[in-house]
Amino acid sequence: MSNVTLKGSKEGFVVIINDESDFQQALKDLKELILKQNIGSADDDVIQFTIKTGNRLLTDAQIKEVKKTFTEYPQIEIKDIISEVDSRLEVSKLLKANKMNIETGIVRSGQRLEFEGDVLFLGVLHEGAQISTNGSIYILGKVNGIVQAGFPDNTSAAIFGNLRHAAQLRIADVIEIVTDDNADELHNHQFAYIDDMHSISVNDLQDYKEVMSNSRKGTV
């Protein structure tokens, strides 16, 4: 197999850089490959290439070099650089962000628990205590403190469960103070989310799918 292969596919042109090849050699071959093509005049449409690197993860410097090769020719450009592998750091970040954290302990006044990802809260959150995460929070335990989902700016996060006794509901940058007046509207089996007016609304759990799809429609 040669160092660089050009293929056409449904998604357009794909350049495969053999992951067993020497990078510098492959880069040279890539240049030759581009030269060999019959690149049209400046009036023609720009042709986009996807570059696949197989089981090799290009370093930032290598990506720069590949991109530089392409910028020399205005008629071609890189659509994406895709690798079959991810760095350990990237993966652990991803795992963390998608993790469901289960918390069972007592969070006392003055304590602040911070998570990444979603939180299933089975413990007790005392007055003056706080739990905070960048994802959503599912409450099954007793909550008297401040619940912060989507910290600092994830507006699609939500808070599920019995919100009635919480002191404050916070999603992203929006804060809802639970007072005697609005506590009556909060029950179990509900969820709080950021509506299209960018304020916190509360709805029944069975409406979650509908509400979320509507609010996405509104923003995208």
């Binding site: 007592i106 006392r108 006044s109 003055g110 304590q111 007790v124 005392h126 007055e127 003056g128 205590a129």
Partner: protein, 266 residues
């Protein structure tokens, strides 16, 4: 080797000093060797509650700064033979003269000589509090049946739990007003215990006798008519590992309408 127990609360005025004095006295009367250490530097009053103020010659700051040896600074309470001693706080020095190392050195030494080292902690959760709790093996958290006090106790318990002491913090609910509990206008004992979720060591009623005794430099522990004294005795017995049921009074002791109108008992 004895154990050191800090008596703390977060909020001021809930009865840390009175509790320290009373429990220590009971333990001493039961034949245990007890040393009380007042760490409320600058605002000492454990000595006053016990009526030992006149006997203080040297204090803990003198010991920490090596002006005297520790045994010279210990004040013996003559009512308990050789069982109860006090290491007084300094009334003149600034609280920052005591650092953690010297406090730890003093407490470690005392633990070798005594069965119980009872540390009276200053209110708040600042410098003096940190000094007191880091050297203790266990803690007694004193709270009153009121929201502000329970909330501060919660904060303190959180800090204590994060320190991973060898003995889990225990709770004493102090100054419980019988009449208010019966009328339902005070926080309920169950609610406080359920909220704080630490073992309950005892419940002490609010009694005029306790204040009167403090003012006279006595403790209520030997007074058989005092409910508070009875509670302190029970608490000390529980600390020694005895299984004494909690005497939480329920609604069944409710005072009648007339006795409520015509004055409380005691």
């Amino acid at each position: 080797m004895g154990i050191s127990i800090v008596v703390t609360s977060g909020k001021g005025g809930v009865g840390k000093t009175t509790t320290t004095a009373n429990i220590s006295s009971v333990l001493a009367s039961l034949g245990k060797k007890v040393c009380m250490v007042d760490l409320d530097i600058g605002l000492r009053n454990l000595d006053a509650v016990l009526g030992l103020t006149n006997r203080i010659v040297y204090d803990i700051v003198d010991v920490a700064q090596n002006r005297v040896v520790l045994s010279q600074a210990l004040v013996r309470d003559p009512r308990f033979e050789d069982n109860l001693y006090l290491l007084a706080a300094s009334q003149f020095a600034d609280k920052y003269v005591l650092d953690q190392d010297s406090v730890r050195r003093i407490i470690t030494y005392l633990k070798q000589r005594f069965d119980f080292v009872m540390i009276d902690c200053p209110a708040g959760i600042e410098y003096g509090f940190q000094n007191a709790v880091t050297v203790a093996d266990g803690a007694i958290v004193v709270t009153n049946p009121e929201l502000a006090s329970v909330s501060d106790a919660d904060r303190v318990v959180g800090i204590l739990e994060s320190m991973k002491m060898p003995i889990t913090p225990h709770l004493i609910i102090n100054r419980v007003r019988k009449n208010m509990i019966n009328e339902g206008t005070s926080m309920r004992i169950d609610d406080i215990v359920n909220h704080l979720r630490i073992p309950l060591l005892g419940v002490v009623v609010d009694e005029d006798d306790v204040i009167a005794a403090s003012n006279a430099g006595r403790t209520v522990i030997s007074d058989n008519n005092s409910d508070a004294g009875h509670s302190y005795r029970n608490i000390a017995h529980r600390m020694l590992g005895e299984n004494i049921p909690l005497d939480i009074f329920n609604g069944d002791k409710k005072t009648g309408f007339f006795s409520r109108v015509f004055g409380r008992k005691k």
